[in-house]
Each structure stands twice: as C-alpha cells, then as structure tokens.
Symmetry: C3
Subunit: 175 residues, 3 copies
C-alpha cells in the first residue's frame, strides 16, 4: 500500500516536471479570438513579401478591418492613442495573414526582426511608440520571445488612403 503511494507520488512529481506543451502561434491567435483574413491579391507593381535566404521582407500594410476597409485619419486629431493602438493591432493582423499565406504554418517564424512603424498624426503628436505598441504587443502575444523586435516608431505627414498607421517588417523564418 505504502509502495503504491510512493509510486504515485513519484509519478506526480515527474509529471510536474514535464514541460508544458508549447502553444503554437496559431493556438495563441485562437485564444485571442483573432481570425486571420485572406490577404487580398497583390496589386500589379509589387508583392506582399519577398524572401531572401531566411529573411522575409513584408510590404507596408495598413489597419484593414474584417470587411477590407481601412481605419483612416490622423492620430492626435481624428483618433486618440487607444484608437491608434487598435489600428496598429489590426496592421499586425494584416501582416500575420501575409505570413500565414506565405509559410502555411506560423511556427516557421523564427524571429520578428525589425519593425518600421509609421503613424499618420498631427505635428504635435509625440506618442508614436504608444500607438505602434499595438503592433508590437500582438506580435509578442502571438510569438512570445520570438516576437520581440528592433523598432522605430515615427510620425508621418500622409499615408496612402489616409490610413492611420502603416508598418513594414522584416521576419526571420526557419529553413
């Protein structure tokens, strides 16, 4: 009887050391309630991304809603920081959709390397980092440590279709 008890204790101890099965990026997206849209067909003159060696260069993307329309306007006048943060988060979703299309499996992402975050804003708006955090935070929620990147966050005079945010990104992928 005591033997069985020791035995069970031992097994329990062992189990507690088994590492938690790693969540895949797709699991993380599910938990966040995010469904990736299909990336729209690339326009004639350029493509969504280009791969060189292990690097993927992603074209600049904006904050597309599920229906394909964009969040537009200037942060500091038409949008506040929270709305800008949300726009940056949508921009990250647009890039995740491109990555999913390209890689099939988001687990092939080895590192989000560099993010250039552009905020369509007023001349006196100085909180671009708080806005682009919407992009960065989602990348870290989805990829964990692999989502941590080098970054610039800057204020733009004007962006295509008056989108509130545009981001371009470099991603390292597995062989």
């Amino acid at each position: 009887m005591r033997k069985i008890f020791y035995c069970l204790t031992f097994i329990a101890a062992c189990i507690s050391f088994i590492p938690v099965v790693a969540q895949t990026p797709e699991d993380n997206l599910k938990k966040l309630g995010i469904q990736l849209p299909k990336s729209p067909k690339p326009v004639a003159s350029f493509v969504h991304c280009v791969r060189v060696g292990n690097l993927l260069y992603l074209s600049g993307k904006g904050p597309a809603r599920a229906d394909g329309s964009f969040i537009t306007g200037k942060v500091g006048r038409d949008l506040n920081i929270d709305s800008g943060y949300y726009a940056a988060r949508l921009t990250a979703i647009a890039h995740l959709a491109v990555l999913k299309d390209e890689l099939g499996d988001l687990s092939k992402v080895k590192r989000i390397v560099k993010v250039f975050g552009m905020v369509n804003c007023t001349e006196n708006f100085y909180d671009q980092p708080k806005v682009i955090n919407g992009y960065s935070d989602l990348m870290i929620e989805v990829f964990g440590e692999k989502g941590k990147h080098a970054r610039s966050a800057v204020g733009m005079y004007s962006l295509p279709w008056n989108t509130a945010v545009e981001v371009e990104t470099i991603v390292e992928v597995e062989n």
Copy 2:
C-alpha cells in the same frame, strides 16, 4: 520521303521547345530608349551602396534629370500624379545607374527585394502608391519577374533639396 517528312516535323517540334533567348536588362533599357547616366561621385559622409553577402543596400536617390538637376516640389500641389509617376521613374533610373556602376552587368541582379518609396506631398494627398508605381513599373519592365518587390509608399513632409520623390532599395545579386 515520308521519313524525311517525319524527320523535319521532329526538328520543327524540337525548335519550338527551344526557349526564346532571354532579353537582358540592358536590352530592355535600350528598347525603352533609356540611357543610364553616370552616377555622380559619392559625397564624403556616405556611399551609393554597400554590399553584405548577396544583398546590395542602395542609398536613397531622387529624380535626377539627364543634366543632373532634380524634379522638385510637392505632389498634390506642384506636381500631379502623372508628374510624380515620372519623377519616380527617374528615381529608378538613378538606382539602375548605381547598379550598373556596381555590377557592370545588370543581369547580375537576382531580385529587387524591397523598395521604400517616399513622396514629397501635401497633407491631403493619399495616392503615394500611384506615384511610386513609376519606380516599380520600370523595375519590372527592366528585370521582369525579378523586378517584383516588397514595397512601402508613404507621404513625406520634406525631402532634401525639395525633391518630389526619394526611394531607397535593397537588391539581391548573383554570387
């Protein structure tokens, strides 16, 4: 007689499978009537391009006319979309001249990887992509599929010497 016929048919079939001799980028430039200028001597503090492995990082260039002067002004006020498109096309020619100087032979270009297209424009101008197409279209006319790139097109408050367009680009080259 029939044998000869079969034989000729066979030869004709073979010939139809011989791939068309590929046009070189230089051929394409000639057909487009574009003569590349000599790149001006690099200014002291930086260089026209830096190579790392198979990647060439090209410095930002503007729309230089054949006489070396620049197309200046803001798109949306001083220039319309068509003039902006033309300025972007001149900017592509400036980059092609840098590539020619560096590589000798434009056939060594393996891929135009990433283009960052900056348009000097008004606050309410939202058609940066249509302007930067002038750059992208020429790259595709010259390099075909290899010319298709990842891209961002954005609106700038001010550019050096008030040039209408500035573009910086990453190019993959053959070993």
Copy 3:
C-alpha cells in the same frame, strides 16, 4: 663600422615598412573625448537590437544628452543646421552605446551598412543631409572605412517626444 651602418640603415628601412598599429574604435572614441553612456533598459514591447546572421538591426534612437534628456524641436525653426548636426552626432553616440553593450568590443563591427536618418524639421527645410552628416561623420571618425554606409536622409513631420533626429541603422559584425 660600415657594416654596422648598413645594418642599421636596413633595420630603419624595415621599421618604416611596419604598418602603424591600427587604432581601435575605442581608441578613436577616447581621442574624441566621447564616453559612451549605458543604454537604458529596453522598453517592454521591443528591444535595442536584433541579430540575424552577421547583421545587427538597431532600433531607432534619438539625440540623448548625458543626463538622458533629449534634444527636441524642429530643425529650421527651433534648431539650426549646426544644432541639428550635433543632435545627429548624439544619436550616433546612442547607437555606439547599443553596439558596445551588444558586442563588448567595437572592433567586432565589420561595416556600418545602412543608415536611415530622419530629421524633425519644417516643411521648407531641405538640408537633411547636412544634419545627418553629424551621425555619418562620427561613424567614420570611429570606424574609418568600415564606417562608410548607404544612407537616406529625410524630413519628418513629427518624432517621438519631439526629438530633433531619429536614426535606425543596420550593422554587419564579425562572426
């Protein structure tokens, strides 16, 4: 006697051919009287730099004074070219501090590859290159030929905390 003379002449000739012992980047900094600050702890959502292969991608940095405060304002209104140049030089020091933290030894820098120099300026300010030279010149003073880079210098509408300059850079490092 004559033999000794010839011998000494020969030795002197040899010595004159011994290459001058190369100055390290750290020596150059010392000669310039520049002491690198400690890089502040990275903020949550991003990191100071990411390495992929032999490339280091440095996050955008601004002109931090020794006490951590920033030089702020618009070049062309609040700052003149000289003050802007000095701000760009401080920005280079901020990047050198990141490189020192990351590499331990600045001699591991193989090449400053690409610099994207952003100047917070007025709409009619066109001398961004003269401002960003403050960054480029210091890199060349510290690294010599290895400090020469591809570059763009552009005018921004607004930068985080109203800093006068922001620069992001790619650096090639030794294996």
